[in-house]
Symmetry: C2
Subunit: 364 residues, 2 copies
């Protein structure tokens, strides 16, 4: 079954199995040492085989965002899923009801109006759906502000058909930080904000079993805070150029690369790959938007992208030739996982398996 | 088969069939009036049903970029395909050889080294592949510079196994222009550069049957130039917010929108959709990068994107409520087509058909 890397067509997404296993083991050990449950966000890989490695290392379950993603992972045998997205609507609620018959399921809510659309369907079926309240710890995307949390939590807890089981947050604002100290500060603030909300809810007589934090940059800082019970990092499983730029991992901790062919060298300082935004995505590098990926082991980076072209800026003294293959370390691993239907599991230059990206494109 | 828009889950990509037909008809008429062949770039839709509408309106064939895309469209019955990308490598050449047994096929080349990888395989099989020389008319991505064209064309024409049939260019630099006059100037320059190259090749005794231009912004200007034989616009079939911003089409000419649900209204000036970069892509608006899509008929735009969240900036006086549905006009239609496996063909609020995006994710 194994074959050489030279035998596969480019562009292709490669995932180094040994690097993945190392990343999974280290995060699992960190969670164990901190005494928190690890519930990785599987959006980064969308691959059941990778999710199983995470479970084997001690994860309590997976995090995903959308109903259709949970359907895919439930069909693949995963029995404990938290959807960290405010699911809204009776049609989605009916799908969640079917899922909740088969697996342990919880979903995020951040408004009474949204929660009511789930509550109605579950109450009619005489079932209860576990929900967690999303708290805005500074990203200002979704989530209730800390000062609104008790009010919304009480109203949600009073709805029939749902059971409030905890609070959660996502510190995506860590991706704007440019120093390790800045990232650590966001992690402490994220966890401090959420544990304070949890205390306020408990003080108001509301149940709080789970206090769930975690982005990959802040995970180790946030999980160390007393009162945190669960952590949900995603990107750590593959890592990417943004995590390296943020100082969160080393280049050798990056498991996902894109194998590409040089198709044109129109000038001494320019070479063009057959991998563009349809393979690398147009997501910017974090924390500073500089280019669209690095060429592994070479003095060049992807300076511009079209859909099918990656245009390299080549440093003086470096040369590329038409037909050679390179590996690109992309800015953002999760969005690369969402573009192609399969990835190649590799060890060094050997392709060991093809993994279907089973939850690719599941946005509903 | 038809159903109401309310019955489909969000987010979903909608394509208005009447708008598509209008766009196809107008571009076909423009090409006919200019006396040039129309070979639309099917990357915008990736849908055989839409390609058939283009053929029915008089297109001579389709343009695509990659070998695997041609394989999909050939399997769907399309018999004349030009790949406007510098295809490189013996593995791709073997796939092209199989395709060329079944359909009329031509591919782009921009270097002797690249062309030789195709030439070898076709010469061994005692076949000839039609190739066209890509000329850089100002985008500075791939393509030979005009002053290099005769030299490279002669070397390519001398290779066994290939037949040089023409020249082509893509004026992607039109997307940086901010006025109709600027876009028109790029179109005239694009066509002027390419026809001059064609004349130089003919002067050197080289065959030039096709002189092929065209981006959606420049199409009407470039096709009007004497000596141009073919035009390859893509985006016109759907249009998008960038084309409106560039002044190339009217808002009512946009056929593709994303149906999304408001899942959170955390503040008076902010609402959050269940459509993020996994549905809208993170491609910037052209020519000025401002936000990630407009909300049709509402005073709001997508200011920020995460993978699953579209964060709206809501103007004073406008209000959204949790659970309501909106339509988003995305920045770039082609990349949206590459994200989901199906689109819904609609007329007004009725869903008439589901179209499989058959060539989605075909990057090889």
């Amino acid at each position: 079954m194994a074959k050489a890397l030279d035998e596969i067509a480019t562009p292709a997404v490669l995932v180094d199995v040994d690097v993945v296993q190392g990343n999974i083991t280290r995060m699992a050990e960190a969670a164990r040492a901190a005494g928190v449950r690890l519930r990785p966000h599987a959006k980064t890989h969308k691959v059941p085989e990778v999710g199983r490695l995470q479970m084997k290392a001690g994860a309590v379950g997976l995090t995903l965002a959308k109903t259709s993603e949970a359907e895919v992972f439930a069909a693949a045998g995963f029995e404990d899923i938290f959807l960290g997205f405010p699911i809204v609507g009776r049609d989605k609620a009916r799908r969640l009801l079917a899922l909740a018959e088969r697996i342990r399921l919880a979903v995020g809510v951040d408004s009474v109006e949204g929660a009511r659309t789930l509550s109605d369907v579950f109450a009619e079926a005489r079932r209860r759906l576990d929900v967690r309240l999303k708290v805005d710890s500074g990203l200002h995307r979704v989530g209730v502000l800390p000062e609104q949390a008790v009010g919304v939590a009480r109203a949600v807890a009073d709805l029939p058909g749902v059971r409030l089981t905890g609070v959660f947050t996502f510190a995506g604002h860590s991706y704007g930080e440019t120093t390790p100290e800045g990232i650590a500060a966001v992690g402490h603030q994220e966890a401090g904000t959420l544990t304070a909300v949890a205390d306020a809810l408990r003080g108001a007589g509301l149940p709080v079993e789970e206090v769930s934090v975690g982005s990959t940059p802040t995970a180790r800082h946030a999980m160390a805070t007393r009162g945190v019970t669960e952590c949900r990092p995603g990107v750590y499983v593959y890592n990417d150029a943004s995590q390296v730029s943020l100082g969160v991992c080393r280049p050798e901790d990056c498991a996902l690369t894109v194998l590409a062919t040089v198709v044109s060298v129109p000038a001494a300082d320019r070479a063009v790959l057959d991998a563009g935004s349809k393979t690398l995505s147009s997501d910017p590098l974090r924390p500073r938007a500089e280019g669209h990926g690095w060429i592994v082991g070479r003095r060049a980076r992807v300076a511009r992208l079209s859909e099918e072209h990656g245009v390299l800026t080549v440093e003086a003294g470096e040369r590329f030739h038409v037909g050679e293959r390179v590996r690109v370390l992309p800015n953002h691993a999760c969005v690369v996982s969402n573009l192609l239907d399969r990835v190649y599991a590799v060890r060094g230059d050997r392709v060991e398996e093809e993994w279907k990206v089973a939850a690719r494109g599941r946005v509903e």
